[in-house]
Amino acid sequence: MSDRILEKLSILADAAKYDVSCSSSGSNRKNDNKGLGNTGNGICHAYTEDGRCVSLLKILLTNVCIFDCAYCVSRKSNDIKRAGFTVQEVVDLTINFYRRNYIEGLFLSSGIFKDADYTMERLVLVAKKLRTEHKFNGYIHLKTIPGASEEIINEAALWADRLSINVEMPTEKSLALLAPDKKRSDMLRPMEYLKTAIIANREEKKLFKKAPMFAPAGQSTQMVIGATPETDLEILYLANGFYKKMNMRRVYYSGYVPISNDNRLPAIGTPVPMIRENRLYQADWLLRFYDFKVQEIVDAENPLLDTDIDPKLSWALRNLHLFPVDVNTADYKLLMRVPGIGVQSAKKIYAARKFRRLNSEHLKKIGISFRTAKYFLSINTEFERKDLLPGQIKQLILTEGNSKYKANFSPQIKLF
């Protein structure tokens, strides 16, 4: 029996790993029933050899699937081993992993094995069992199956912390090309429904503390990048729309890992576009934490993010007329925009300069990346940029620094 479950776990974890979300934060479920577990800021309990966080037990209930999406390992036409867990097996694995402090909770997804509702019902059953029979207060992320009915989605939100539907492709055209069985409207409709229901629940919670929790960690989505020819402009505008219009908590970008010889897709052996993925996440951070507007990051003239420098530095070099910024007087929001100064450093500088004028030694000790920031700051009349042009500053920063990305990482892949 133990060999069989080991084999199932290896198949169903392997098939789930291309879903990149591993977040276990954003919920605030307390352990006030003397049960098991709680949620908080999220903890990464391990990191795989590819450097990614392992926070949740991320598995498929089954990798049997009636759909044939070209980018997916579990597609119907792929000749691979198929397996499926029983509801009880997933429950036991979750509880036993959780009790040993291996994980923060469960991320359960599934291939679609009959129809959307039938599949989704099984996922909900796992969550319900965990919450009711085991008094489990850890994190549960359920995948919403495209096309599932509102009743079932509603029930899922009562047990889970987070729900997600993957938009999969940045454009409808790419989706039609690679996932002929899926329609974008099947993904957007449940998102819309959840968005409205979550807002209603939050309002209700303000009035009645006892109102049930309803997807307290909100919704997220994911798109595959690098499998199709969309620009970063298209990707980031879509992401921005999800944040602004769908109240998405997170949009994930999954660099396409070639898994098939389908001629609609990059061939096996094509490097994963890891730098591009990383730049997209940096841009995403600028949208969410640095108060950037999407059109400041990409526009018609610059539809692709630079790969050799980060998007904040790119923006600064395009907008040199806004610099230098006086470290001792500049507005907090402007401080945050200085390349080499992050949210935390900006806060510290803002607080510390009330005591005395800060000089460059102070800044170095506080822990900003002075090497980069010095071209954009004036510090008590010192100002290092002088008359340098954007290209020269970029070169100086690149040659002085030691980029994280060396030869072992490929640049963005070229298509067509």
Partner: protein, 260 residues
């Protein structure tokens, strides 16, 4: 220079701070009694922990500092870094001597030290919350052995008590020779000399529950299955999971045994 010795506890340190004021010791060097080997020069001043003195310093400080900064002071103490006593003394003197709050004065070296040291300690606390791996004994005790860089047991107590409210657990710091034990009601600090050769944790494994090995195997299997080989990045892996923690990580035991 006066050597001021204390018993190594936070209470003792605050009592020592009190006595520095009380006896107007001009140039004190505070250190733990056991570590103070006779200095040829200077005076010795022995401080005994005194609840009243401790409380007075504590109360005064909490009037001047936010909860966050109070925790930073405690975390800096728990770092056990050499010389932290005197930095904390100077920090406290600076706080008490200033009319306005100085806790965010990050261009002051002592304030910055306390902020940065507490951040290091906090990082280690967080690592323990992440990297502790319980094993289950036949009588359903969940136990884990740790060797954190800093003395973080007092800081992780709350987290584990709240999270694992329905299971008995024991976390043992084998460097500092003490642990926390939760009996389903309260957490108690227990001192024991549990002489464990961490390279041979297998010897303890004979006490384990019959299912324990299965779940360890399942976890190892899971850990290797979620890896995407095409994205291999060992530098990042090691940056997030430094090698010194590997010996206590169930998922790393497979490789560990092969290496040694």
């Amino acid at each position: 220079m006066d050597i001021v010795t204390y018993d190594g506890s936070m209470e003792g340190l605050l009592s020592a701070v009190f006595e520095v004021y009380e006896y107007k010791i001009p140039d004190p060097v505070i250190c733990v009694r056991s570590a103070a080997n006779g200095s040829l020069f200077g005076q010795f001043h022995e401080v005994h922990s005194n609840t009243e003195k401790t409380n007075r310093v504590y109360k005064k400080l909490s009037e001047r500092l936010s909860k966050t900064s109070m925790l930073q002071v405690y975390s800096t103490f728990l770092s056990g870094l050499p010389g932290m006593e005197n930095i904390l003394l100077r920090y406290i003197q600076y706080v008490l001597a200033s009319k306005q709050s100085v806790e965010y004065d990050y261009s002051h070296p002592d304030v910055l030290f306390v902020q940065q040291t507490s951040k290091k300690v906090h990082r280690e606390k967080h690592r323990m919350e992440a990297f502790i791996r319980f094993q289950v004994t036949q009588d359903q005790l969940y136990y884990a052995i740790i060797q954190p860089d800093f003395n973080v047991l007092p800081l992780i107590n709350n987290h584990f008590r709240k999270r694992y409210a329905d299971q008995r657990w024991l976390i043992y710091d084998s460097h500092r020779k003490y642990g926390l034990y939760y009996d389903l009601e309260t957490v108690t600090e227990i001192e024991m000399n549990f002489d464990i050769d961490v390279k041979h944790t297998k010897s303890v494994a004979t006490l384990n529950d019959t299912n324990e090995e299965l779940y360890q195997k399942l976890w190892q299997q899971y850990f290797s299955s979620v890896n995407i080989a095409a994205r291999k990045n060992m530098k990042l892996h090691i940056q997030h999971m430094p090698k010194r923690y590997w010996r206590f990580l169930t998922e790393k035991q497979v490789q560990f045994n092969e290496e040694f």
